[in-house]
Every structure is written in structure tokens, then in C-alpha cells.
């Protein structure tokens, strides 16, 4: 693997899950849990003749940002599309659980200064959701992750990172939406139903899954940023995500709830207003929404460089703040 300083300059998309995990926390601070050395691969894949990986496609561990323990989950899209099975799912669940344990421990050991040492969870998603080869176990694990995210509410921040080729879909799309802060790059995609399935459901004329520009307009980072479904948009570098994480760590914890999009009655009411807007506007394409939110020339947004985009983009006004 590259050295930490080189990792910061590496493209997030081109990097693997482990490199991302190391690079998202401070230099030299990452300790991996259930690493390849432990050889806890999936017991379910071999009988189906499917290749295994020692880490089951999910890198978990703890690092630091400043004094704060950062519990990291980093999914590997190259291994069976990042799909979540029993082992990988358990690693995700337990990582959040350990962060909550650390929260209690920090409070106990540093009763006066625990806020400076408040743990956080960072999940780098690269997955289509449930792994079909062990679908039932994968599905149950998804529910457990969601349960842990609710447990973390009001205690520690849970931060989503999406900047990978596979994006974040299926059951993990729910999970990402349910976290406190979402950071994406324009190469990341977040949604529920993958493009191929939408094409199958509503027809190629309505939605051509091969039209990547359309696919990215519908679920990509820029769109999610405009819709306020993603809080921060960053460049496709591990260092860019890291820098943004450092900034998020500076947000006082009592303000973190303000970054959420769902998770309370008020937020659901805000989202329902947005759905009413959707009925009113009846968007044929994401660009209709971009225009509605004040982007006069939505066409031009797609090919804009990151800097240009950030300068000129208009986003949905949040009702709850």
C-alpha cells in the first residue's frame, strides 16, 4: 500500500477499501479489527463456488482524528460488488457498537473533557446492499446496522462517505440516508434501486441504464448535493474526504442533528413537502429539479469542474435547520 502522504493524493475511486480506511484517519493511527490475518472469510461462499476474501469485503477498525477515536467501516466494491453478507455485516454492526462502547469509556475516563474525545463512526459505502449468496443473513445484518445507527443518535456522530464506483444502493441506501452527515464526491452515487432494475421496471425509453450521464444525474453526488441529500461535496481524492472529515469533527455535537435529512417528525414533514413539490413539478429528469432550485442552466452543471460547480450551484433551501 502507498504511504499515508501519498494516499492523501490518490483518487478515492481508484483506491481500495483498506487504503481508504487508512487514509481517512490521521497518519499512522489506524488499527484494523478482524484483519486479513484473522482469515474470517465467509463460510457460505465456498459451497457456492464463489471466491472468498479474508476480510469478507469490509475493512473495519479504529483510528484518530485529533484526540477523537474514529471507528471506520470501509466497503470494498471490487469484491462481489461490495455486497454485505453475514461476516461483513457483523463487522459493520460491531464497529458501531464498539464506537458506542468507546463513548461510554471516554465519558468514564474523561468526565470533564469527553466532548473533545467524542468517538465518531465513519462508513465508506461501496455496495449494492445484500449479498445474494447469503441473502437472508445479509438482510438481517442490514436491520442490525440500522438499529445501531439509531442507538448512536444523540451520542456520537455517524458519517457517510460515498465516492466509489459502485456507489451505495439497496438496503445500504437506507442506512446511508439514516446517518447524520453525508459526504460525497461527484463520482459517488446514492440511491435505492439500481439503474438496471429501474430500466427493467419502467422501460428503456424512460430510463436507459446504459446512459451513465442520466444515471449520475439521478443519483450522483452533484444531484444529491443540490437536493441536500448530501451535506458536503468534495473532490475525488482521499485527502479531500479526510479534510472534510476534519471539518465535520469541528462541528459541535449538539449541531450535528441539524445536518440530518430524516430521523424526526419535523424532518419527515419537510421531506413530505418535498414529495409534494415532486408532484407539482413532475420532474422528467433531475435537471428539472436543478432548475426549480434556481440553476438557470442545469445542462452546464454536469461537465463543470468541481471548483466551478461549487461556485455556481444553487441548492434546495432547507426548511429545518
Amino acid at each position: 500500500m502507498l504511504k499515508w502522504d501519498e494516499l492523501q493524493k490518490a483518487n478515492f475511486t481508484d483506491s481500495n477499501a483498506r487504503a481508504r480506511a487508512y487514509g481517512l484517519v490521521d497518519k499512522g493511527t489506524f488499527t484494523e479489527f478482524v484483519s486479513p490475518k484473522d482469515k474470517l472469510s465467509s463460510p457460505h461462499l465456498p459451497v457456492l463456488g464463489e471466491a472468498i476474501e479474508f476480510d469478507d469485503g469490509i475493512v473495519t477498525g479504529v483510528g484518530l482524528i485529533g484526540k477523537r477515536p474514529i471507528f471506520v467501516v470501509s466497503q470494498e466494491g471490487k469484491f462481489i460488488g461490495g455486497a454485505v453478507g453475514e461476516v461483513g455485516g457483523a463487522k459493520m454492526v460491531k464497529t458501531i457498537k464498539l464506537a458506542l462502547r468507546a463513548y461510554e469509556d471516554v465519558k468514564k475516563e474523561h468526565p470533564d473533557s469527553y466532548e473533545d474525545r467524542l468517538p465518531a463512526v465513519v462508513i465508506s459505502f461501496e455496495t449494492g446492499g445484500v449479498r445474494l449468496h447469503e441473502a437472508n443473513a445479509g438482510l438481517l445484518a442490514h436491520a442490525e446496522v440500522m438499529d445501531q445507527i439509531q442507538d448512536a443518535r444523540g451520542k456520537i456522530p455517524v458519517i457517510t462517505i460515498i465516492g466509489s464506483k459502485v456507489g451505495c444502493f439497496g438496503g445500504m441506501g437506507f442506512v446511508a440516508a439514516a446517518t447524520d452527515v453525508v459526504i460525497m464526491s461527484e463520482n459517488g452515487r446514492l440511491g435505492l434501486t439500481g439503474p438496471e432494475v429501474i430500466e427493467q421496471e419502467i422501460g428503456k425509453d424512460e430510463f436507459d441504464a446504459g446512459d451513465k450521464a442520466l444515471v449520475f444525474r439521478t443519483t450522483g453526488g452533484k444531484h444529491k448535493y443540490i437536493m441536500q441529500d448530501c451535506n458536503f461535496l468534495v473532490a475525488d481524492k482521499i485527502g479531500a474526504f479526510k479534510t472534510q472529515l476534519d471539518e465535520v469533527m469541528k462541528i459541535p455535537f449538539n449541531e450535528i442533528e441539524g445536518y440530518r435529512r430524516i430521523g424526526s417528525l419535523k424532518l419527515v414533514e419537510e421531506q413530505l413537502e418535498l414529495v409534494k413539490k415532486a408532484v407539482e413539478i413532475a420532474p422528467k429528469d433531475s435537471k428539472d429539479m436543478w432548475k426549480y432550485f434556481g440553476n438557470e442552466n442545469p445542462e452546464s452543471l454536469t461537465n463543470m469542474s468541481y471548483d466551478e460547480f461549487m461556485k455556481s450551484v444553487k441548492r434546495r433551501e432547507r426548511i429545518c435547520k
Binding site: K165, E186, N187, A213, F216, T302, N303
Partner: protein, 556 residues
């Protein structure tokens, strides 16, 4: 003496007039026919047994006319002999299924190749010959003159002047053959305008124009996403640049489509620059406007690039680089497949491209057992041009090294084109590249062809590049030595495992086989970080925003 014996010398002309007379009522103004009347028009001007050309290649397609031809009444029109560059669309075979057409002479088939093989097998289609593009074009002027040509253009005016512009491609060669032999030419165009951007085909050669309901289909066939280039491909590209391009000083060349040549293109501004090869190699190309050429062009490598056809998304970029490309007074590219193929055959010192299989003798083929994919233009480029009489450094050097030269022509100096095949020893899913017998033989049996379809014959091939090394096979003095050289670079395939270590050592000493180490290439440097652009977005950045990638490549 007797009136009745006067020979009539203009039957074709009279026949054309008669056919056109039958559809007079369909013509609105000038030569314009409404899209809804197209089927009636075709039924009026086509007769059973006609040779019909349906324009289309691996880029643009006369798709609307192809669809309409499928809708003609098979009771009125049948037994057509289709003469066309490609079988690319479903409709191209539907005309056979419906009994409208019977015989086919063509050059290349992509996605329809499997269905085509079935049709041949089931007797639904009588296969004439599979050609290279140039051969087929040549036959349009000999025994395969189209009676009716159905062509495609961007614009027409009411009089029938056509603007084919960026995607001129096969149109001139088809129209000229048809129109001057009293055939009928029908053009579908995206738009009928008052004044065409540029006259690519003069109105006098066109009989009818139709504004199609949708713009014609274009396949962005030559776009390769740099994000998909592997480390191995980078290694082999480095080997090619140092061991072939640099070694021979190749100035004029054609690249096949594929990730190997895309990797080479993206290494020119990095590795090529580092080797000090700028200006010494890669100045002249017969090549479609590959997006992966943008960094090399921007870095000042290329003097001249003539294009077979267009490439979707490259329009603006090409227009803005008229020093490099062939641009009309209107400011847009004119491509022309026939001329570019001629340049590829005669004016290029090298052809380099990937392949599917290479046999133990060095013949290569892209054929699989159940797909009749044909040839396209590669063999025109991938063969020694025997009629070539001008010389160049690379051509002469390769000829000088040619192990059979003396055997064939005695003590005369003569050059040889570099014909290079690049492939990993195993492809995805561990399919071996080197085989005892090509699948082309199976296809020959399955489809009852006269001979196995070979893309490049061993006697034209000069170099094989694999991850193991480069075999300079032209240097071999007999087949025995050539087979040993092939084995030496065939890795762990069945063929490669027959290599004898000592024999390989001897070939390395003679310079017939060179490994990356022999070439002085640091293998640990062979990774994606060497690429001048690592994804499509970076190509857009290199182009200063002039390249507009097709939607299917926009992953942001």
C-alpha cells in the same frame, strides 16, 4: 440494316427512369419524400433480385431506411442481394428473416454476428463473401454494383445536396458506384435545410431525400475509458513503445481499437516523452479520432491524422484542431473510409492492435466458433502492402531484418510493413490467446465457409507482444524458428509450456525474443499512474472542455 437488331445501350438508364416514374407522386418538392411514404418509395424503386446497399458501418447507420426496408411487402420485393459494409442492427438480419433479402456480401458484424451464423446455418441467408472494407468497396466497382443505395447524412437541401460532415465515412464510395452506374440513391438525413453546411455529395448524384423521424444512430466504438486500463496493459504498452515504436522510429501508423493501443496513446506524453521519442515517432496517423489520443495531440506529438469516420463527442475538439485533422472550409471534419483505408494500407509503416487468438504458426483471428464477425478494415492495415514503392526508415529497417528476404527476392533491398499483434497470454476468464488450432476452423465448419476467416496471416505478421516479451517473428529464417519464438512469449498457455529454455535463450541472444528486462523496462513502474489521463473526465480536462463524451461514458 434491320431496325429490330439495333442494340439498346442504355437499358439501365431506361430502367431507372421507369422506376422513378412509378414514385413521382411521392415527391413533394425537389427530391424530398416524406418519412411516412418511405416504405412506398422503396416498394416503388426496388425490384426483386436487386443488389441493394444499406449504408452503415461500425459508426453511423442508415437505421431508418433499414427499418423501412423491413416493412416492404415480401410478396412484391424479395430475393434481394444485400451488399453492405456491416451487419450491425437487428433490422439488417430481419430483412432476411422476412424473406425480403436472400444473399449477403459484407465486411463486418458486431453484436449480430451470432445471429448471422445461425441464419447461415439455417439457410435463411446465402452468404456471398466476407470482405475487408477496401475489397468490398472495390467490388462495388466491379461485380457488386448496387442497383439501389440507401445512404445516410446529417443534412440535405431540397435539391439533394448532402452534408455528411464528421461522419462522411462510406457514403462517397457507395454513392459514386451507384449513381454513375444508373442506380438509385436514397438518403435519410437528420434535417432538411435551405442550405447545407457543406456539399459532401452533390445533388446530381442523389435521387431522393427523406428527413428521418429520429437522428441516425452512431455507435461510439472507438472510445475507451482509461479507468478500465489495467497494469498489465500499461506494461505491454511500455514494451511496445520502447521495443517497437522507438526501436524502428515508426512515424506513420494505424492503431486498432482496444485497451492496449489506448494505453499506448496515453503513455506517449509520459513514457514516450521520457524516452525522448517525441518527434521521432507517431507523427502521422490513419485513425479515427480516439479520445485517448487527446493528451498526445495536446502535447504536440501528432502532425497529421486522417479519419475513417467520426467518433461521437469529438466533434468540437476535432474542429478546433485543424492543424491536425482534415477540416473543411465550414470548419468541420470530413472523414472518408475508402481514402483512410488506402492510407492505412499504403502510407502507414505500422499496424498495431489486439487480437483474440494466435495459433502456433503466428496466424491470428478474432473468429469464435459460432459468430461470423468478419473483418472490417484491420486486414487492409495489417498486411504488408506489396505494391508499396516509397520508403521510410521504419519500413526499410523492418525489411532489412526480414529473415526470408533473400530467400524470396535475392539481394535486393526492400522494406516491410510492421504488423504487430498485442495480447496477454491469457484473456479474462483464463482463455488462452495462443492455441494449437484457431476457433476460425470450427467456424468454417459450422458456417460452411470456404476457408477459416483469418484476420492477419503469419507471413504478414512481424511482431507479437505479450506480457512475457516481444517476439520479432519477421527476423526468423524459417517456420521452425518462428514457432519457437512464438512459444517463447506464450507464457503458461499449452503452447508456451512447450517452450524449451535453451531455445528461448538462443532466441534472446539473437534479438528475436526480448523480455521486459532485455528491453530495460522497470516492471515495477508498470502501473496506471503512468497514464496521462486516468479516466474520461481527465480526457475532458486535457481537451479544455472541447471533448463532450457520450452519455454512456459520463460517470460523474
Amino acid at each position: 440494316m434491320e431496325q429490330e437488331n439495333v442494340k439498346v445501350w442504355d437499358t439501365l438508364k431506361r430502367d431507372k427512369e421507369e422506376r422513378i416514374g412509378q414514385v413521382k407522386n411521392l415527391v413533394k418538392e425537389g427530391k424530398v419524400v416524406a418519412a411516412k411514404d418511405t416504405v412506398a418509395l422503396l416498394e416503388g424503386v426496388i425490384k426483386p433480385g436487386d443488389k441493394v446497399n444499406l449504408e452503415g458501418n461500425n459508426q453511423k447507420q442508415a437505421d431508418f431506411l433499414a427499418d423501412c426496408l423491413c416493412k416492404v411487402d415480401p410478396k412484391k420485393i424479395y430475393d434481394l442481394h444485400m451488399v453492405q459494409s456491416v451487419i450491425a442492427l437487428k433490422s439488417h438480419l430481419d430483412v432476411f428473416e422476412k424473406g425480403i433479402a436472400k444473399k449477403l456480401d459484407y465486411s463486418f458484424s458486431g453484436t449480430q454476428a451470432g445471429r448471422l451464423a445461425e441464419f447461415v446455418k439455417d439457410g435463411k441467408l446465402e452468404l456471398g463473401s466476407i470482405h475487408t472494407y477496401l475489397e468490398l468497396f472495390a467490388r462495388y466497382y466491379a461485380d457488386l454494383v448496387p442497383r439501389v443505395a440507401l445512404v445516410v447524412a446529417f443534412e440535405a437541401d431540397k435539391e439533394g445536396n448532402l452534408y455528411t460532415g464528421f461522419n462522411t465515412e462510406d457514403t462517397p464510395v457507395i454513392v459514386e458506384a451507384t449513381a454513375f452506374k444508373q442506380g438509385i440513391v436514397i438518403a435519410q438525413v437528420n434535417k432538411i435545410v435551405d442550405k447545407v453546411t457543406r456539399v459532401d455529395i452533390p445533388a446530381g448524384w442523389i435521387d431522393f431525400v427523406i428527413e428521418s423521424p429520429k437522428p441516425f444512430y452512431i455507435e461510439p466504438l472507438f472510445t475507451r475509458d482509461p479507468a478500465l486500463i489495467t497494469d498489465t496493459q500499461v506494461l505491454m504498452a511500455m514494451m511496445a513503445i520502447k521495443g517497437v515504436y522507438g526501436e524502428y522510429g515508426v512515424q506513420s501508423l494505424n492503431h486498432g481499437l482496444g485497451f492496449f493501443t489506448a494505453a499506448i496513446e496515453l503513455l506517449l506524453p509520459t513514457y514516450g516523452e521520457e524516452l525522448g521519442l517525441k518527434g521521432k515517432i507517431c507523427s502521422y496517423f490513419a485513425l479515427n479520432p480516439h479520445p485517448t489520443m487527446i493528451p498526445a495531440i495536446e502535447s504536440g506529438w501528432v502532425k497529421n491524422m486522417h479519419c475513417f469516420g467520426g467518433e461521437l463527442g469529438m466533434e468540437e475538439y476535432v474542429s478546433a484542431r485543424s492543424d491536425v485533422f482534415f477540416i473543411g472550409p465550414d470548419g468541420t471534419l470530413r472523414s472518408n473510409r475508402a481514402y483512410s483505408q488506402a492510407a492505412g494500407h499504403y502510407a502507414m509503416d505500422m499496424f498495431i492492435g489486439g487480437t483474440l487468438q494466435i495459433d502456433k504458426y503466428g496466424n491470428s483471428s478474432t473468429a469464435t466458433a459460432n459468430r461470423i464477425s468478419g473483418f472490417g478494415g484491420a486486414p487492409n492495415m495489417g498486411c504488408d502492402a506489396k505494391g508499396r514503392r516509397h520508403s521510410s526508415e521504419a519500413w526499410l529497417k523492418c525489411g532489412k531484418e526480414y529473415g526470408l528476404q533473400e530467400e524470396l527476392i535475392g539481394n535486393l533491398p526492400r522494406g516491410k510493413k510492421l504488423v504487430v499483434q498485442m495480447q496477454e497470454t491469457f484473456k479474462e476468464k483464463l482463455e488462452p490467446t495462443f492455441v494449437e488450432e484457431l476457433d476460425a476452423w470450427k467456424l468454417q465448419k459450422n458456417a460452411n465457409l470456404d476457408m477459416p476467416p483469418i484476420m492477419i496471416y503469419s507471413d504478414d505478421l512481424t511482431h507479437i507482444i505479450t506480457e512475457v516479451g516481444i517476439a520479432y517473428v519477421h527476423k526468423c529464417t524459417d517456420m521452425k524458428e518462428k514457432m519457437a519464438a512464438i512459444r517463447a512469449v506464450a507464457g503458461y498457455t499449452e503452447i508456451g509450456m512447450q517452450a524449451d529454455e535453451k531455445e528461448t535463450e538462443a532466441l534472446r541472444k539473437k534479438g528475436i525474443v526480448k523480455t521486459p528486462e532485455d528491453l530495460g523496462i522497470d516492471v515495477s513502474r508498470a502501473n496506471r499512474s503512468m497514464l496521462a489521463a486516468k479516466n474520461i473526465k481527465e480526457l475532458v480536462e486535457w481537451s479544455g472542455g472541447l471533448y463532450n463524451p457520450p452519455a454512456k461514458f459520463v460517470n460523474w
